[in-house]
């Protein structure tokens, strides 16, 4: 009850016209960076942080937080329309969002994503407001062994998900993991596989690789098929068909719960809930073969999950003072810059500020859903721009996106190479998503593995002596065994859906 009154007071602060304006600016910039490939929320918050120095602390953090959760709405748009994720969390949305757009249902995909994002985002903020402190304490039980196990389960499920062949999925995933090793090792400091080049010392960048593998490769494939490509279908409606409402809302419900729980784990990222949600949806669907061909639940679940994650990921920050992702780390910096110390004492020392920020997140989500629902149709029309114009524009954005990562021309060459690689992979029917996902999680996988083994004195069975990591690893072993078995028996087509937990 106490929280409720404080939240109302928070609304009082957040609803002043000045704060409303900055909330609007924040979420708009968030949408923009989500849409623009290359520019991510981390870069955007970092770029705008200095501008906020002269603002009131509340106003500054309201705006920066707006960029953070706004970008998750924006990232969906490019995934659905041009099969290029605007930021990492939207990789999964490509699987079913893009096929939907090809069927002329881009509006529906975007509409459902917006509704799901709103519900997921709002529920997780309610969670942030009311049950944060007790839950955050539980999250401390998650250490390196648990992270390692969680990543392994996630990766194996992705490999099980993609494409027709286990072998090709595995190859793609292993390539991603190996590419993630390039550069300086985080544990020992040894520089690996940089081919003697200084610019590779910091490793390959996620944005550069995705711009190449998704953006450029998509353009290359498109240029080739253009001759026989039909006219893009009309964008009709924003809402799912009547019979799709029930499964959609259920997927949104599951995505909300999943995203919320994963956000509580310090060190997790918004990609993990999206993957888990997708595989969950596919597992429980009556007809899993629809997935990858435009299943509406495949958009609703993951999009909801990553937005639900965005709210609850602030819980470790507000209650423990621990930033759990790079963007949140910059928000953390903003708190510090304005003389606030995130941590267990924050709710006591600066209640007016915290509650105003939480209240503004409700408002921001409302603005975003209003911005997205009617405009989804407008964004959807971009899919109707003739490809002969759209492709050159994607091309120029990919080039700038790759360049802006480090302001370095080398990154454009790297993107170029990955573009050709992506093109060849598509030609040979290698799935690309496992590569990108394992690349994102590779560093965390290695550090958590090495840290765990140090904890266990090098004893691999230590993982199985801890309940959470043990259970997760047993599940992943089962997934692997069943996938190998089914692919040997050539029953993969029928059983593929059953092995993904």
């Amino acid at each position: 009850m106490d929280s409720f009154i404080q939240l109302l007071q928070g609304f009082e602060t957040a609803l002043t016209w000045w704060n409303l304006l900055y909330c609007l600016i924040g979420v708009t910039i968030g949408m923009l960076v989500g849409v623009l490939p290359g520019l991510g929320p981390t870069t955007a918050t970092a770029l705008l942080l200095p501008i906020t120095y002269s603002m009131e602390p509340v106003t500054a953090i309201i705006m920066l937080a707006g960029i953070y959760y706004g970008s998750l709405y924006g990232g969906t748009i490019t995934s659905v329309l041009i099969n290029t994720p605007g930021e990492a969390a939207s990789v999964i949305t490509c699987f079913d969002g893009y096929p939907l757009a090809k069927q002329g249902r881009a509006g529906t995909a975007l509409g459902v994503a917006a509704i799901g994002s709103f519900i997921g985002g709002t529920v997780s903020i309610i969670g942030l407001a009311f049950i944060a402190p007790p839950l955050a304490k539980l999250a401390l039980g998650f250490g390196p062994p648990e992270f390692f196990a969680l990543i392994v389960v996630g990766m194996l499920m992705v490999i099980g998900l993609m494409g027709k062949s286990l072998i090709r999925g595995l190859i793609s995933a292993l390539l991603g993991l190996i590419l993630a090793l390039v550069g300086m090792d985080t544990i020992s400091g040894a520089v690996r596989f940089n081919l003697g080049q200084d610019f590779l010392m910091n490793g390959l960048d996620f944005v550069t690789i995705t711009m190449g593998l998704f953006g450029l490769a998509e353009v290359l494939i498109g240029l080739e098929e253009r001759m026989n490509a039909g006219k893009p279908a009309k964008v009709k409606g924003l809402l799912p068909r009547r019979d799709e409402w029930k499964p959609t809302l259920k997927a949104i419900g599951r995505g909300t719960g999943l995203g919320f729980l994963i956000g509580l784990i310090p060190g997790s990222n918004s990609v993990i809930p999206a993957i888990l949600s997708y595989s969950w949806e596919k597992k429980i669907a009556k007809d899993p073969s629809r997935f990858g061909k435009g299943a509406i639940e495949g958009v609703a679940g993951p999009e909801t999950a990553n937005n639900a994650y965005s709210g609850s990921a602030l819980i470790p920050l507000f209650t423990l003072g621990i930033p759990s992702s790079p963007t949140i780390a910059i928000l953390f910096g903003a708190f510090i810059m304005h003389g606030l110390t995130p941590g267990p004492t924050l709710f006591q020392t600066n209640p007016n500020i915290v509650w105003a920020i939480i209240a503004s997140m409700f408002i921001g989500n409302l603005i975003l859903v209003i911005m997205n629902l009617p405009m989804a149709g407008m964004w959807g029309k971009i899919a109707m721009i003739p490809t002969k114009l759209l492709y050159p524009i994607i091309l120029i954005f990919s080039v700038i996106g790759a360049y802006s990562v480090n302001n370095n021309l080398w990154d454009i060459w790297i993107m170029f190479i990955f573009g050709i690689m992506g093109y060849l992979m598509k030609k040979l029917d290698f799935p690309i998503a496992p590569l990108v996902l394992t690349f994102v999680l590779g560093e965390l996988l290695e550090t958590s593995l090495l840290q765990s083994l140090i904890y266990f004195n090098g004893n691999v069975f230590g993982f199985f002596q801890r309940p959470i990591s043990g259970t997760l690893l047993v599940i992943s072993l089962l997934v692997l065994i069943i996938s190998i078995f089914t692919s040997l028996k050539k029953k993969r087509g029928i059983l593929a859906s059953d092995v993904e937990m």
Partner: protein, 149 residues
């Protein structure tokens, strides 16, 4: 050898072998625990095995011939012109700055589908707008020529 799958497999095998060989130069195990060579050695080792399985599959089970997957005629032209345009872009940008090279990049791709004057118009307008948005507004220092663009 017209089997594309075998070539891809051989490429993978070579890559995995290179990583494996490189990994040997890092510590596999240190007193503190597994070293920087630990994971790459395992990953590339597994990749070597899987590449071999893939090559076997490509020969015995699913034969993909180059003819099936390589683009022909106009499609090949489209692809080569785009790849070429990026290479020219990269060469020109250090001298002429972003705007000029972006116009060239877009023009090469667009001219295949549009009349030359439309292609030029679209290229120039797009390049300038993109430059203004990213360079001036978002503060990304795009390479410029002596005149500042």
């Amino acid at each position: 050898m017209r089997n594309a799958g075998v070539w891809a497999g051989a490429l993978l095998l070579g890559f995995a072998g290179f990583i494996f060989w490189q990994s040997l130069s890092f510590d596999y195990y240190t007193v503190r625990g597994p070293g920087p060579g630990f994971l790459p050695l395992w990953l590339s080792g597994v990749l070597i095995v899987i590449s071999l399985v893939y090559i076997w599959e490509a020969i015995k089970k699913e034969v993909i011939v180059f003819k099936q997957i390589l683009p022909k005629g106009r499609a090949l032209g489209n692809i080569l012109s785009m790849l070429g345009s990026i290479i020219i872009f990269m060469i020109v940008i250090s001298y002429a700055g972003f705007v000029v090279s972006a116009v060239i990049l877009l023009f090469i791709v667009l001219v295949r589908e549009f009349k030359w004057y439309s292609a030029l118009g679209i290229s120039v307008v797009t390049s300038i707008i993109v430059f203004l948005v990213f360079n001036s507004l978002l503060g990304i220092p795009l390479p410029v020529n002596a005149l500042g663009w």
